[in-house]
Assembly symmetry: D2
Homo-oligomer: 336 residues x 4
């Protein structure tokens, strides 16, 4: 199988390294319009063809797949051309600038029988896979909430706000772990640079089941935090991605409640118990993601990090932005 | 000066101990309708008169002041009666069940020339007083955000939601530290007990200046967190109340930005520098609060934790509840 | 049962409070030669007889037991007189200034059929009792090492060095948990005040079985640490006494080794696995200790924190001091 | 300048990468007797000559310098041959198996006017350089102690004990920071594998000035710790190498003491104050070390991590081993 990488920016070397390491997979091209970036590729990997012309890739009938790692606003156009030229396509997160674009790409991929995938790398980490398994085993019980904090002194992006930049990680994890349909969103935020692009934003996702999800995203925090709390009616779980060796903590903590005949009166039994820190497999998540892309093409199956999950994430981001710009108003999500 | 405590619940022993320790101040009564609570008082402090009749206090012309530590829904009625009987009044937080009640109490206190105070204990901690001083000295620069997390496995209250229970602490700190008028609130939340009383809630306070404040409150977290992050254009600050000896951290971290002529393009200069952990005075905040009440009466001046700050906190809580019940809709605050 | 406390210093109020709380036990006397200390007792507990004359206690035939909480150098004399007057005796740690004194007290107690106990409070903490149970259940396997760090900016004692001040806690825990006979000690240390009383000291206890114990004690550390690591051939354990709610961590971590025929060649299999943080009962250890003293007298049985364990701790402290003063030379312990 | 690496084991790729990155320096050879290791080099860097014959390096008159990264017992022989063939030599830590060997190498290097250097990488870290500067500026005052803990579940070495494996890092830092001559050592330890090679060891270094240094080294800890505490009469300092961004903490904490006329009585004034966490330059220490080697050769000057510091470290390690094997007996260090 022959693969090309389009866009050799911050993430490029990681993609190059991991796709180069996959067996029976040839990294054929790297495409970037900046000559200085291409010269870096040539230094590391002289056998790759470096080009600034995207058309070269489309014209090469022996090229199987294209990995798109360019700025978000270019994703749709590049992916559409690649799909229509008969290539399988992997897109960096966030998938597109709008849900409409994501839907159109999915339709084209369906029609052309090509794999369309989005790179939600976190789904391939040992920690998230462990949580998935624990939840499948019923350890947590019925999930009740998801509370994510992803803040640090981060690069202010010039074209997308902090939710589009940081929340896709957590939204893809939420989408992967929770089998429930988000009903609506409320989001608030602020831009401290005067360009109307929020550098701090807060998002609540409401569910009709009573589940709730919340996201605290900031490029303006002196402290770096990457936490997800997941509540369940049996146990609760903390995923702290900054812990080098203790990323997951499972708390044997919770409460049961029963309502009195008087609706407002509720009896709550609390319990606080042991904590368990399972060993989590240390593996390069990006290699798992790249391997899943290649295997999906070979086995003609959907990847874990599917285009549909990419669309669901974009759907929420789009609604969040609408909510922020409407003073936090509830935006009901459209899923059809 | 002679003082009475009304309501001898969870907080009662702390009030008793601290008011007993104030010089030239006699703790004359403890009033509670539960005999078993009163017998606890008698065991510790035999010289205090224990009574279940609130009227005894009102009828005692030599009683100067009343401390109200009963459930919230009784605050207004008890405080009103005490003020009208010529007593100075201290009320536990939250001050009342509604802004209208708080306003009426303030009017009565003004008319009767009595001190009316609310117990926002946190304003008297070494940490908050240090932050106040640092901000007055210009260390932080112009404040840009306030982000509070107060979560743990907490007691589900039967009559007030998690915001009314936990947020008054942080709202009073915000009110004390930030000289800016909140414009509106958005709040979301969920009740997992089916009694419509939220056990998890999120609150954003919007300001017309571009400042933003956010509050994450939960009774359902396996992890106990009590953090406030305050951003400024010079430095940023973390107040972690659970740290035994390093409650404050000042980060020489920030960013400057200047807009390009093109409004959307912004140049951002980042800096991450030293961290400074100032020593914070260890003192009992409740003793400071109690002393301020007594001194305010003696000196006929407003206490730090004034009734007006209590009203401002109630105003925000009331608007928050309205927002939660209106699906997160923005509620513009009324300040007149 | 009637009890007296001798010495009302730093620890006095805690002893008073806990002995007062024991059922069917009357705190009859507090004895101290400092009038200002006795007046504190009178304020808290008017029914206790306050005296500066130790003889009053000895002369009171209805007094059952004496608790000695005076400076170490007075322990022997006071305890001896009390035993010979027919009182049961509890002594604060360290038990005496020398092993010879401890032995003599034990002989007198045996002869007079009185309970002689030393206050090793830590044995009654939820954490140490949990470790004891885990080790009894074989969770750790065969113990291989014990490594304790107890350092902070501590009060320089005028009469005993940092080992005599801090190590009794850890030595008593070691004695309680490890069923193996210490063979010898090596200790080093330094005095920064020129009075020959070490403020930093290091102690190794050697065992003929291959087990090893080490103690790092300091009054001169800016950081406060209270850690004990216990290695076993199955699992390892960390006791961090400064953690408010996660005092114990059990690591499913270890190594197996088998020697090659070539004695120097060893094959080592490592494993690093899950971590388990058991919930530890929160209880006042001092109340448990006081109760054990009273129950030991009533039931005519040896307490958990026995005089023999006190002697074993003194034996090690005495040998450690000898080692420090002999430039770290190995001192073989005498156990008969 | 042309350089060769001898021994391409665990550390080899790091040496290769850093020496390859130095300007005007050609990595000419990698020498290893294992063909599979050499094939790794060829894959990464095809222009390097790979050889299993050390003589090839000695015979190449245009080769300037040799980097020795083989097992410790081979260091002396390889370094001696290289020096005698006219090469400059860099040796991985620990420098040699004995002080006698280290001395002989130093003599040969002096005679042949070649640079002889040992790789004490830590001296080139931002953290240690910051401490060096702080101490030079008098921030700490007069140093009083050095207390190092370097423990984890580490690889059991087959030929050297845990002190020879781990302590060189901390001993080289001590040697670099403290201008005082160690007088003697006491060391204790234990081997749990029966091969007489200690996996846990404790080392005290005594100074006639009253300064003291202590080292706790273990391959058998479930917890990974890399801490150095440095006490001074003005301030104290903690270097925690596992902290990603807060490696140094300076405590405005300490004590002053003055002796009474009575020698045993000492008055101690304690202070606990602010904590300061300076920003530490993030740079690759190994690159700094490699650059210093190359610059030392060019500028004909001694490197920071000199052969003499290597000898001083070996001197202490040798004495420590002697002490362990003599039951912790004090071994007076020979410095001439």
């Amino acid at each position: 199988m022959r693969i090309a990488i389009v866009g050799y920016g911050y993430w490029g070397p990681n993609l190059l390294r991991n796709f180069s390491a996959i067996k029976d997979c040839e990294l054929a091209y790297v495409c970037d319009f900046r000559p200085e970036r291409l010269s870096l590729v040539a230094a590391i990997n002289p056998s790759v063809i470096c080009t600034s012309r995207f058309e070269d890739l489309l014209d090469d009938a022996s090229l199987d797949a294209v990995v798109i790692a360019t700025p978000v606003f270019t994703h749709f156009d590049l992916a559409k051309k690649a799909l229509l030229s008969g290539k399988h396509v992997l897109i960096e997160k966030p998938m597109t600038s709008s849900a409409a674009e994501a839907k159109e790409l999915i339709e084209i991929a369906d029609r052309t029988h090509k794999i369309l995938m989005v790179d939600h790398t976190f789904l391939y980490t040992g920690a998230v896979q462990k949580i998935k398994q624990l939840m499948a085993d019923g350890v947590i019980g019925k999930p009740t909430y998801f509370d994510s904090t992803r803040i640090n002194l981060g690069l202010f992006q010039p074209d997308i706000n902090v939710l589009w930049d940081l929340a896709p990680h957590d939204l893809s994890i939420l989408d992967y772990l929770i089998d429930d349909v988000p009903y609506s969103v409320n989001a608030t935020g602020v831009s401290h640079t005067g360009n109307d692009i929020e550098n701090i934003a807060y998002l609540t996702i409401n569910y009709q089941s009573g589940f709730i999800a919340h996201f605290n995203c900031s490029w303006s925090s002196p402290v770096k935090l990457r936490n997800i709390l997941i509540g369940g009616d049996k146990k609760m779980l903390l995923f702290n991605d900054l812990e080098p060796s203790e990323k997951l903590r499972i708390y044997d903590t919770g409460y049961d409640h029963k309502s009195d005949e008087d609706k407002r009166r509720v009896m709550v039994d609390y319990r606080a118990g042991d904590v368990f820190i399972p060993k989590v497999a240390q593996k390069e998540a990006l290699f798992g993601m790249a391997s899943d892309f290649v295997a999906s093409i070979r086995e003609e199956r959907s990847p874990v990090s599917s285009a549909l999950s990419g669309l669901r994430v974009i759907n929420i981001l789009e609604a969040s932005q609408k909510s922020i710009k409407s003073n936090g108003k509830e935006i009901v999500l459209q899923w059809n």
